[in-house]
């Protein structure tokens, strides 16, 4: 599985990667981005390659471009449209969840999280892909 992890915290990117492995995701490649703008650049570069990614996991509260702007812009540009995106964030309020889902996010996980929560959210998405 090829995964794009978007978070301004290098520590959280490591924690998320570890949680995915513990959840049983067979990671073959992990691409990291510091913010939404970097993630968009990664997706634009990968446009046309098959498969670009199997999963995108993004934080919301990031400098430069936050996670909600990122997935909204991704939808607008039609980048990797079939790749499920999951938000992992401390911002668990209803408006944020609604905005993320409207922009095409397939899952929403609040920090702090458990490996079981990651598994329950991510595995059905990967199975359906």
């Amino acid at each position: 599985m090829k995964v794009l992890i978007v978070d301004d915290s290098s520590m959280m990117r490591k924690v998320v990667e570890r949680a995915l492995r513990q959840a049983g995701v067979n990671l073959t490649e992990v691409i990291q981005a510091n913010n939404g703008a970097e993630a968009l650049a990664v997706l634009r570069d990968a446009a046309g390659s098959e498969p670009a990614f199997d999963l995108i996991i993004s934080d919301i509260n990031m400098p430069v471009m936050d996670g909600l702007e990122f997935i909204e812009q991704r939808k607008k540009e039609g980048l990797a449209p079939g790749v499920p995106a999951v938000m992992i964030t401390t911002e668990g309020s209803t408006p944020n969840v609604m905005r993320a889902l409207a922009a095409g996010a397939k899952g929403y996980i609040c920090k702090p999280f458990t490996t079981d929560q990651i598994k329950a959210c991510v595995m059905p998405l990967l199975s359906a892909a």
């Binding site: 290098s10 520590m11 570890r18 509260n61 401390t90 911002e91 309020s93 702090p112």
Partner: protein
Amino acid sequence: MAAAIAGELASTSMSTVTDAVYLDQAVEEVFGLMLGVPVEVVGEELQRGEETAMMTAMIGLAGAISGTCAMLVRSDGAVHMASCMAGTELNAVDETVLDGLGEITNMLAGAWKAKIPELNGACMLSVPTVVTGTQYEVHRRAPAFLVERGYRVGEHLFTVRIYGVIH
């Protein structure tokens, strides 16, 4: 919508915001789930004092309340916390430790506000700032509320302080 929520908050929830049980629960969750270590409440809060090895991670709160969520910890405690979170032994304060300390404080702030329904949708968090040392001053409006607790993780003490103004 936000103003109405803030008005409701100001009139009804000062006691909720200052109830330390929500902070205790948030600390327990973050350290238990993300660091895999237990914490205990201790009677004393860690103060800045004259210690140059002190580190302070801060998250700004905006919206229904304006304020700060701060965690104070000595550098050896910060290294311990970051090591637990990273799952690898770290030996000194570096970018990974600073990053980890900020992220832990971010999760504390998020977990705390998530426990207070009036705040959860009406309070936003800033990205973290981490200050090393004690030679700084924080200038702020007189806080209308303050909740502060001391904790111990392993052999390390740390303090979490949330203060601000309710709008």
